[in-house]
């Protein structure tokens, strides 16, 4: 019998139930709910990043590029053609997926720092284009989504809690996607590629294709997060939506501090980092310029030094299931040998 309720899964379930009930217990128009929504959104972004960064171990510093492509695609489709952002969201996912294919062809030969730098350049190029192609993108002024009151068909709500629940749903969907990928055939192959690319190739794994699929899925999910972000904040400009420090690095950082390649890592990382940053800003930004970022940075460095494998490393390990319960093929020969 396969156990459905491991401690980790129970914890995840409790997290989602508690998160879903949160709007009933806090001020629905308050700052706290907005921060909570950002925590969930960043968890979803870091989880999307985790598909490439964690499973394939390709540390990308260009995911803001996909995020911004999602935000720009859905918002431009809405502003210019009146298409609902719910549809624009998927259009953005397709655009980002296509960009991921184009980016992968030259960059997948690169490893480590070189890959990170190439992806970083990708997002920067998009930022420059968005800034200079003012006729189409609105240029440095950015794009505003007009306030329309409550129009659920157009992804516009009056209450913060509605956005909050949409974001929670998105996080659940991204986590499910990550889990299915990690435990399915593709995840198996990705692990093989991460562990030893040469051995994977002679074992018949098409390493290029496997990495490509992961990066397209990761890019598409990140773009969807971008659309949701745009709808939630009503405004964005090229420098904020393609931001290296604000988005690309933060996605990677949340996943790394939480636990690279783990399902719970991005959630733990976002729960830890986003409120920490908010608190540092709230209490320290009036004291001295840059002090809050300094303190935040120090805490980050400390976190990585104390537990390089991320917060998830402290999580109680479930017993190894894969070898025992999950595969019937093993039972036969194992029984025979005894």
């Amino acid at each position: 019998m396969r156990t459905l309720f491991t401690p980790s899964r129970a914890a995840l379930l409790i997290f989602f139930v508690a998160a879903a009930l949160l709007p009933f217990f806090v001020d629905p128009r308050g700052h706290l709910l907005r921060v909570a929504a950002m925590v969930l959104l960043f968890a979803a972004m870091a989880q999307s990043w985790n598909i490439v960064g964690g499973l394939a171990n390709q540390i990308s510093l260009g995911h803001a590029g996909f995020f911004g492509l999602g935000a720009y695609t859905s918002t431009l489709l809405f502003l210019k053609l009146g298409i609902s952002p719910w549809i624009g969201m998927f259009a953005g996912a397709v655009v980002a997926g296509g960009a991921a294919v184009l980016l992968s062809i030259p960059t997948f030969r690169l490893k480590g720092h070189y890959f990170a730098l190439a992806t970083l350049a990708f997002a920067e190029v998009l930022r420059v284009i968005a800034n200079s192609w003012a006729d189409f993108t609105g240029g440095p002024v950015g794009l505003s989504i007009p306030f329309m009151g409550s129009q659920p068909a157009y992804f516009a709500f009056r209450a913060v809690s509605s956005y909050y629940w949409v974001i929670l749903g998105l996080l659940a969907a991204v986590c499910l996607a990550f889990h299915l990928l990690a435990s399915g055939a593709l995840g198996y192959r990705l692990r093989a590629v991460r562990e030893n690319e040469n051995a994977a190739e002679v074992a018949g794994v098409n390493t290029f294709r496997v990495k490509l699929i992961a990066s397209v899925i990761s890019a598409a999910l990140t773009a969807i997060c971008g659309t949701v972000f745009a709808q939630f904040t009503f405004f964005f400009d090229p420098d904020s939506i393609f931001s290296l420090a604000g988005l690309s690095v933060r996605m990677a950082m949340i996943a790394i501090v939480g636990g690279l390649g783990t399902l719970g890592g991005p959630i733990l990382g976002a729960l830890f980092l986003i409120p920490l940053e908010e608190t540092a800003n709230a209490f320290l930004s009036s004291k001295a310029a840059g002090l809050s970022q300094f303190v935040f940075g120090v805490i980050l460095i400390a976190a990585i030094l104390i537990q390089p494998r991320g917060l998830m490393a402290w999580w109680p390990k479930p017993r190894r299931r894969r070898a025992e319960a999950s595969r019937p093929a093993v039972a036969a020969p194992a029984a025979k040998g005894a």
């Binding site: 562990e195 994977a200 002679v202 894969r322 036969a332």
Partner: protein, 251 residues
């Protein structure tokens, strides 16, 4: 002995040749590591390739597996031209490659490592049977199936690596220095396993620095020096050859 001593380097009957390499040259951007190498493996045979380090032995196997894009010449597996095919399609044709240096997936269990080898024909009904065959060959892997491959001894990792290649049900097994860096007792065990694999009908191309081991399991052998085949023949004739004895057997 029916085997012709120092038989010609070209495999004569193409019909019975599982692998045919003709005029193979390969380079990694510099001078040729292999130049005009011609050799063959007949169905059911174990063939050894001897030679010192840098003689081009590993390059030969990597070229067969499609891992050297710039290889020139002709390689045929059961009459099928191999050069130009992407590496990941080669195992599916029936060629298992055990790379040099025990390339296991260190943070996967033994069982997962073995399963990786059968991945390219997922859904095959006989996976359990193949696994059983590997476990019969290497009972230790059955005991250690839940252990992380990276935490096992060198010999066990080599067994995992060979087992993984066998999970793909190869007709031809390419073994790259299987005995390298292993204790003599483990080498004996592997030696026995190679014989058993061959008796199950798998043709074997074995690359070895340990000429003693290689010639004791192989039917025939080739000697590679600086990328050229300098000598070939039956194992008996090679072990009797004074040059081979001096250079590779240390007698």
């Amino acid at each position: 002995m029916p085997e012709t001593a120092l038989s010609s380097a070209t495999p004569d009957a193409a019909a019975s040749a599982v692998l045919e390499v003709r005029d193979l040259s390969a380079a990694y951007g510099g001078p040729d590591v292999l130049s005009a190498v011609t050799l063959g493996v007949r169905t059911g045979e174990t063939v050894a390739v001897l030679g010192a380090n840098t003689a081009g032995k590993t390059t030969l196997l990597r070229a067969i597996s499609g891992l050297i894009p710039k290889a020139r010449g002709h390689i045929a597996f059961e009459g099928l031209a191999l050069l130009g095919r992407p590496a990941h399609t080669i195992p599916g044709l029936g060629i298992g490659h055990v790379p040099e240096g025990r390339h296991v997936f260190p943070r996967m269990t033994t069982l997962d490592n073995l399963m990786m080898g059968a991945f390219f024909h997922r859904g095959a009904k006989d996976i359990a049977e193949r696994l059983e065959r590997v476990f019969t060959l290497f009972p230790r892997l059955q005991e250690r199936q839940a252990q992380l491959a990276g935490s096992m001894s060198g010999g066990e990792q080599q067994m995992v690596s060979i087992g993984r290649a066998l999970m793909g049900k190869p007709k031809l097994l390419l073994l790259d220095e299987p005995s390298h860096g292993l204790a003599p007792i483990v080498v004996d065990e592997l030696h026995g396993a190679i014989g058993a694999i061959n008796r199950q009908g798998v043709s074997v191309l074995l690359v070895e620095q340990n000429a003693m081991l290689a010639l004791s399991v192989a039917h025939r052998g080739y000697v590679l020096e600086a990328g050229h085949v300098v000598l070939s023949g039956s194992s008996q004739s090679l072990s009797a050859d004074p040059g081979v004895r001096r250079a590779y057997l240390g007698v």
